[in-house]
């Protein structure tokens, strides 16, 4: 399959305000290709540039130099802005900032109405999207009565209804409690697996990144790691230097390995860790 996102030598700095000197670059030469259907997690501490990068994927920000091509559309092409945003939808951190209507199904239909989708088609897409995020039975509720996790799922349904090829989520679970986080992660994974939508997930949670196909790590405006989750997390020293955590099971495996035991440092799931410990304890 082809690449849905192509970023070439992307540099970005905010416009200087007034007479100040030009502010420093936030993104310093990003090259990144993402394949259609991939589930990519982007990690990095606050200020590493990961949100700025995300905002380039649907033209909320435009490159200072370099280019961002999403599904064949150059994000700098103003005439194709609406088309671009239909193909690459974005979900933000705060659920309360992205709900516009007083009824769940109207909120999901909002973008479709703006796009002039015919009624029958709109009805079908709204229902399907709400079913996809398991919020169909709440379709006539007021969003104010929903939990944070449910609101985020409604926001995701609003994006799915546009039938995008790609969805970018900027820390969608940061303000949710553990059960809300689980709901949202399950929805994201299902959407990726069942509908083949490409997912770019910006997150602080290592356990979420561990569920992706590929982890991109950013630091000071550059990509410093880009590999499968188990390969990225097994570099515990480097991750700590980048002010990032690794899953607890990876850290434990790494500690045991350092102490001279034969255990793979590429453990990222609980079950792998359980098996490895059992093996270690029953070895002769």
């Amino acid at each position: 399959m082809g690449n849905i996102i192509e970023i070439n030598d992307l540099h970005f700095r905010y416009e200087p305000t007034g007479e100040e000197e030009a502010p420093p670059e936030v993104l310093k030469g990003i090259d990144l290709s993402i394949k259609e259907g991939e589930f990519v997690a982007v990690l990095g501490h606050n200020g590493s540039g990961k949100s700025t990068l995300a905002k380039h994927l649907n033209a909320i920000l435009l490159p200072t130099t370099g280019s961002v091509i999403v599904d064949g559309i150059d994000t700098a092409d103003e005439e194709k802005l609406f088309e671009l945003r239909q193909r690459a939808g974005m979900v933000f951190q705060n659920p309360d900032n992205q709900i516009v209507s007083s009824i769940v199904e109207e909120d999901v239909a909002f973008a479709l109405e703006n796009l002039g989708v015919p009624y029958e088609e709109m009805r079908r897409r709204v229902d399907e999207s709400l079913k996809a995020v398991k919020m169909y039975k709440y379709r006539l509720h007021s969003p104010a009565q929903l939990s944070g996790g449910q609101k985020q799922r409604v926001a995701i349904a609003g994006i799915i209804a546009m039938q995008p090829k790609c969805i970018i989520l900027d820390e969608p679970t940061a303000m949710l409690d553990p059960s809300g986080r689980k709901e949202v992660m399950a929805t994201i994974k299902r959407m990726n697996r069942e509908q083949g939508i490409t997912v770019v997930l910006i997150t602080h949670y290592m356990d979420e990144a561990a569920q992706s196909d590929r982890v991109v790590v950013m630091d000071s405006g550059k990509i410093v790691m880009d590999d499968k989750p188990e390969k990225v997390f097994s570099q515990v020293d480097l991750m700590k230097k980048l002010r990032l955590d690794v899953p607890q099971v990876t850290e434990l495996a790494w500690e045991l390995k350092k102490a001279g035991y034969d255990i793979s440092p590429e453990i990222i799931s609980e079950d792998e860790c359980v098996e490895a410990i059992i093996r270690l304890m029953s070895e002769e």
Binding site: H45, E171, P178, M206, R243, L256, A259, C273, V274
Partner: protein
């Protein structure tokens, strides 16, 4: 005598309407001076309603809140003093910064307490030091600070009142791992200097496990448990069932137990797990 105590504390939202909901249901707890308490509960469990009773923001529908043995609602006119004795830091407190300079913002609370200029200054600088804000920042606008600095400045504003009980509602929400560790270590520094009772609401058991003496868990408006950290973790399966997150490492050791490998200990930090495993492995080799 406990510093903070509740007796059959009950709070009902919108009583007598179709929206009537009991948010806190006959809760009895008792907290000793100097303790660090972790407060947990899923969204809607009643934990925020509960903590808003501790400084009199909410008045119990029935039951009592006692501060140093005195019912805080015994004399309604004294409720203002209760708010100086029990400081509450809300979620995302950085949205509440408003003054021209960081110094003025942090000194707002102490000033309202009617303290002398000298005492205010001491408190502002002491808390700024605990929370890791350098003196150069004191004359800056709070709006020019970084996100993490803003959060810390807002927390310092409550700490500077030196309340006997400090309550922080999810002080690390939305921060990256490094920012999270930083805030927690600064809160610990404040606790060490003042010895004041501290309550921290958090969704992260991993955070709480690393510093709380005791953990209070709310579920469905009721007190689910209030016990030493290690004992709470020994009920990790029930804790998962009520929608809370158990540290990954604890889940691994639960699974090992099910597979017949019982280490006989509650494991909730990586360090502890590492030491435990290394010890067992060494014992095996010695045999």
């Amino acid at each position: 005598m406990p510093i903070l105590e509740t007796q059959e504390l009950t709070y009902v939202y919108s009583p007598g309407t179709p929206f009537e909901k009991t948010a806190v249901d006959h809760v009895n707890i008792s907290i000793e001076k100097g303790e660090i308490i972790g407060v947990m509960g899923h969204t809607g469990s009643g934990k925020s309603t509960l903590i808003q009773h501790f400084n009199g923001l909410l008045r119990p529908t029935s039951g009592k809140v006692l501060l140093n043995g005195v019912d805080i609602w015994e004399d309604k006119t004294k409720i203002r003093d209760v708010r100086f004795q029990v400081g509450l830091v809300f979620q995302y407190p950085e949205y509440q910064l408003f003054e021209e300079t960081v110094f003025k913002d942090i000194s707002f609370g102490p000033k309202n307490m009617g303290l002398s200029d000298e005492e205010i200054k001491r408190r502002v600088y002491d808390t700024a030091h605990d929370i890791g804000l350098s003196e150069e920042l004191m004359e800056r606008s709070p709006f020019d600070l970084s996100g993490g600095q803003k959060r810390r400045a807002a927390i310092a504003g409550v700490m500077a009142m030196e309340p006997e009980v400090l309550i922080l509602d999810e002080p690390t929400a939305g921060l990256d791992p490094a920012g999270r560790d930083k805030i927690l270590s600064h809160i610990k520094a404040y606790h060490q200097r003042t010895g004041n009772t501290t309550l921290i609401v958090s969704h992260s058991m991993e955070d709480i496990a690393s510093f709380a003496d005791r953990i209070l868990v709310m579920s469905d408006s009721k007190l689910f448990c209030f016990d030493e950290t290690v004992k709470v973790f020994s009920r990790s399966e029930e804790i998962s069932q009520i929608g809370l997150d158990v540290p990954q490492i604890t889940r691994v050791f639960d699974k090992l137990k099910k597979r017949g490998m019982d280490f006989g200990k509650e494991v909730y930090t990586v360090e502890y797990a590492r030491n435990l495993l290394l010890k067992r492995l060494a014992e095996r080799e010695a045999r």
